[in-house]
Subunit: 709 residues, 2 copies
């Protein structure tokens, strides 16, 4: 697939295949709009029905064009579009946008037509956009290559590039964000069914595109989600935030997404893991995008998450504090030294904790604003400042804005304002702030959210810098690869534990016994109490088959249990092959955890951790990350689960051996990479986490091989 | 306290105590603003410094006025304000707003000054608003009795009344919501420290006020939160929605709230319970208020939660579906009959599940809109309809709006639109919708949220209607009252269980034993296995003291355990009074639940239920309701906890006896009411929930009496 997308967004010439003289219709709009918006390159309408359109020569076919266009817009029906794409290929056209609907979003017949499109694009190396999309707008090059109500505006170019899988919604987002939200766009492309170039291809291009500083995406699903990680990390290195609005998250919404652009939904848990892991910011509405853009364009990076909240009327301070805490910011008291310097400046009833209420005294003395803000921003325990100016308006507003701009200019810490005066009464103040790049928001909540996004991104960048210095554990076990390649069914406990042992994961001391006497001998060697478990590839649920006995404390008990298990298993599954009975040490004093590998078809191998029992079964309390992970990521995963408090010693327990647990997660990650081609799923359940210093032990394991074709 | 607030919002005359000739200053603004906004009553500035102000006679003191004003605005410092309020009292002034700061929000000295204010107000029966507030605006009577940037507008009267504890924030909310959000306000009052009339007094008045149809509140904390319930229920009966923006929810936010208007925060869990119980809608930002108002003013009530989502471009349907599901709406397929009628109207690739994508075909045929919408709204499985029109603009937008208005007029089901065209290009369409009272929103998400709020309120109204027909269990046990009145310490298990037994709650079979032989005799009668527990008012944590033995299966084991417990307890607490050792049946096969009563100082008695163990301790997974509750509310509480799935039989368990559990919650409620004056806290932990039909049994109980003065 072509990745030299620069040419797509800045084509020297465009053919419009199926151009129509009805300029209000879908196929009539592009030529008209490209001309109206001042596209400077050559335009070639193609339609045998017309000799000319809007003063341009109209050609009967692609073959008849005087040159090979850089880009073709294909505006004909689904069936015909296939032939037109083929014609593009023969003519050597580099990029084609197929607007037509009626492909995979419309059922069986459409799916095969879409496959034809993809095959043609591959054969001729055409960069294919769509089908079932609404085209693109590249603002700097005036390439308005599409249709719809967003195409009537001459946008002011800016540094924000966007990919949207939905055409209609994406462009309406663009026009509202630009015209009403003041967002300056660069490249905006809608991708529809993504038979060719995907959203991730576009975002990857934008990371490298020097003119793009912020990347946004409206995403229903990604077929190549395993690339999210490389994308996110490249963007962190480039210090370009990616804001993704991911929809189709409820079961019902996923159904709707599938019938819309026919992108696979994928598990939201894995999307969330990938976003979190790579610092991709999830947004939840257009307003988030509008709000975050000026924050990122202010080019100030908070060094930590501690915010000072200043108000001139306490009310807003409370809700800003709530929101800051909810979004991971810290609202801590100022240094004593700062408070001591502030005290003489403000009325006696002013609150100087954090939030800091300067009170209405600011009305009588705007100097107070400069002095107080100056002191607070220099406080070593403050990483960023938000100031809520309520409805401050008129002349005093202008004065305050000027003071804020001056203080902000002298600091590298972000300063943001919540200022709810209407534009009519504080326009001059707002203009000063805009000119100086000081973000300001009507809503105190939105101000805090924007700062939280900025802080979150700065933290992700720092975390990534640190991670790059961390080693990634790599392990290779050719024996494991061979075992899985040969496997024709799930591996039973005993074999699965042998396999994970190859990657250095400790397992319970255990041996297979063929008869009751042997079981008793093994138990003597392991030490009582022991556990007995039936091992059979035909018995998936050992407990239900009566195939497990725990707490056996003597040779007699072991022998009796052996016979009972065999009888019970035979009764449960008369034709099962019983490999033997596993005699196993019984682990006490441990917190039971589940760790796993899910080799997802969209995301590739993901590592999972969660607490056992109800935490997993009832609460679905698990953390995922895409492999490979480093040690610090493993610790992040552990801290993220709600059951974490149990691991660090809630309810009078000793603290668990978190270091050993994190080490196992890294080994799982290395195993996931090593066995990527052979493994479908692996669960260690339970993994016993012993008290600190005593390690972790796999109590049981299940491996589902990826059956080879 | 005066509750005839009609006069406050429509005063015939107003005195401004401390009026100033500096009309920009706080004390100078009210007279100027009242005149500018056209207040029709008499205005009496009071200040010995001036003979007249703005052409009005200025009086040296309140005594000098020619008549007794209905309302006095007190704009002098905190200390002087006390004397002025006293003067108001002597003169017979009915209402006074104290604007001054420096009371309880400013520490010790302020607290006692605020108490003086309150005492004067009580003595003279003055309706006191504030102190530390910013006054009120009653739009219909042009009473602009306050100061600040919100007072420069002549508002258009409407049916929304608002209370705000924050002056600055409340009024900036009002002006933005009115001027930019189109919300029509009626009475808006800021209450500050609420030394006199509280937010709840005002909201209660608004429920009865014929001109108010929607009530909103910006609340930091309520000192009289126990009245929330009566307020909420009265509003449900009156069918008036109350939207509350409650802030100060994080620990840090509560601290900030305390230093702001000095209102007690109260536990957010109890606020949430009270809101939920009484259908009070929690909002989270100004935009929610702006969005919900037109939805409620449309006067259409959904009969259920099933929404049909219609789009003309699939993209928005997906995110609307996600949001609908997240907010408790159901997005289910249409009836087959409806789909069959729709099919011939739309292109073959149109999706007719739900969301329903009519596709861009609507551009060529606006009739399609009328026909499809008409069919969908009549579907018996649809309770409400949202339609997303993307950026539809110009003439076609007007046509579509007209069709929507016609269809909506013929149905009693709510119809709402998500329509993101800018006003400049769809003004005519929007005007048609506004005139017909069809709500429309720029953002598809906000459209769904408004519908969800409307649906939630309709459900709360129906639920309340049903509840009023339910009996409320009332129980009286004079013996229990007497026991608690006499108590000087917490009740031990044995006594606490005797007490709950008086209210018909089953407890474990058990008897106190004085020596080992007696313990063995009791055990024989109860049946093995049994549990032994030390009973001592001096040993709060029985297990830690080695005072509990479980699973005792023979007389010998019981006798040995008895001696061990006594030895161990003596070792743990040498001077403890040991009342005896409790011999108790051992319950197996049960899910352990905790139920409790918390007689909260702000909210009064609240009933709690949660699952035992980590659910309570780690996850804080509990449901609260204010007492008394009915049986249906008890079942709601049980369904609300996350551990509910365990109670209905997750992990292979039998379904628990939920009927018996709900019955116990009702008994707890009756007990909480009966013992309101005597009980501080009661916990039954564990309450054993046996399989369905076998009841529940209290395993242990702790009662903290409310120590009598």
């Amino acid at each position: 697939m072509r990745t030299d997308l620069e040419c797509l967004f800045n084509p020297r010439s465009i053919a419009i295949v199926g151009a129509s003289a009805e300029f209000g219709s879908i196929s009539g709009q592009p030529l008209d709009l490209l001309i109206k918006r001042g596209y400077p390159g050559m335009l070639y309408p193609v339609n045998p029905k017309y000799p000319e359109l809007l003063g341009r020569a109209c050609y009967p076919s692609l073959d008849a064009l005087p040159e090979t266009p850089d880009l073709a817009l294909i505006m004909v029906n689904a069936r015909l579009a296939i032939r037109m794409l083929e014609a593009c290929g023969r003519a050597g056209v580099r990029f084609a946008i197929v607007f037509s609907s009626g492909y995979s979003e419309a059922g069986e017949a459409g799916v095969s037509m879409q496959e034809e499109l993809a095959a043609i694009a591959r054969r001729y190396d055409i960069g294919l956009i769509g089908p079932n999309c609404q085209g693109l707008i590249s603002v700097p090059s005036k390439t308005y290559a599409g249709f719809g109500s967003a195409f009537i505006y001459d946008y002011v170019p800016g540094p924000v590039s966007m990919v949207s899988q939905s055409g209609g919604f994406g462009f309406s987002l663009m026009s509202l964000a630009a015209m009403d939200g003041g967002v300056g766009f660069r490249h905006v492309v809608t991708t529809g069914n993504e038979s060719g170039i995907s959203s991730l291809d576009f975002m990857r291009f934008m990371v490298d595109d020097p003119g793009t500083r912020i990347i946004t995406g409206y995403i229903e699903g990604m077929k190549d989600a395993h690339r999210l990680r490389e994308l996110g990390e490249a963007a962190l290195v480039a210090r370009k935030p990616i804001m993704v609005w991911k929809v189709g998250n409820s079961e019902e919404g996923q159904r709707a997404a599938a019938s819309h652009t026919a992108n696979l939904g994928g598990a939201m848990a894995l999307y969330r893991a990938a976003f979190e892991q790579t610092g991709i910011l999830q947004v939840e509405d257009m307003q988030d995008i509008i709000d975050y853009v000026p924050a990122f364009l202010s080019e100030k990076t908070p060094h930590g998450n501690r915010v000072a909240i200043i108000t001139i009327s306490g009310g807003a301070g409370i809700l800003m504090t709530d929101e800051a805490i909810a979004r991971g910011l810290a609202v801590q008291p100022l240094c004593d030294a700062t408070v001591a310097k502030l005290r003489p400046l403000v009325p006696s009833f002013a609150a100087l904790g954090n939030p800091i209420d300067l009170t209405a005294a600011i009305f009588d003395d705007t100097d107070l604003c400069r002095k107080a803000l100056g002191l607070i921003i220099e406080d070593p325990q403050v990483d960023s400042v938000v100031m809520a100016n309520a409805g401050l308006q008129g002349e005093i507003a202008t004065k305050v804005a000027r003071e804020v701009v001056n203080v902000a200019a002298r600091s590298d810490k972000p300063v943001m304002l919540a200022w709810s005066a209407r534009h009519q009464v504080a326009g001059e103040a707002y203009a000063l702030l805009d000119a100086a790049g000081v973000p300001h928001y009507r809503s105190p909540l939105r101000c805090v959210r924007a700062l939280a996004a900025l802080t979150q991104h700065a933290q992700a960048c720092r975390r990534h810098d640190n991670r790059r210095a961390e080693p990634v554990l790599e392990l290779h076990a050719s024996e494991a690869v061979a075992t899985l390649r040969a496997a024709r069914a799930d591996l039973t406990e005993y074999r699965a534990k042998e396999l994970i042992g190859l990657y250095g994961i400790a397992t319970t001391r255990e041996m297979m016994a063929g008869d009751a006497q042997e079981a008793a001998h093994i138990a003597e060697r392991i030490g009582y109490p022991v556990v007995l478990k039936v091992q059979s590839p035909d018995i998936a649920h050992k407990t239900e088959a009566g195939g497990v006995r725990i707490g056996l404390a003597s040779a007699g008990e072991v022998e009796r249990a052996f016979e009972e298990i065999v009888t019970s298993a035979r009764g449960h599954a008369p034709h099962a092959t019983i490999e033997g009975i596993l005699v196993q040490e019984m682990v006490v004093d441990a917190v039971e955890v589940i760790v796993g590998i899910n080799n997802d078809p969209l995301f590739g191998p993901a590592i999972m951790v969660g607490l056992g029992g109800i935490f997993i079964e009832v609460l679905k309390d698990v953390a995922f990350r895409l492999a490979p992970i480093t040690l610090s990521v493993a610790h992040e995963m552990i801290r993220q689960i709600k059951g974490y408090t149990l691991l660090i010693g809630a309810r009078g327990r000793p603290r668990g051996d978190l270091e050993a647990l994190a080490d196992v997660l890294c080994r799982m990650s290395a195993m996931a990479v090593d066995l990527k081609g052979e493994l479908a799923e692996l669960d260690i359940n339970p993994l016993f986490v012993l008290p600190a210093g005593r390690g972790v032990i796999a109590g049981d394991a299940l491996i589902k091989p990826r059956l080879q074709a």
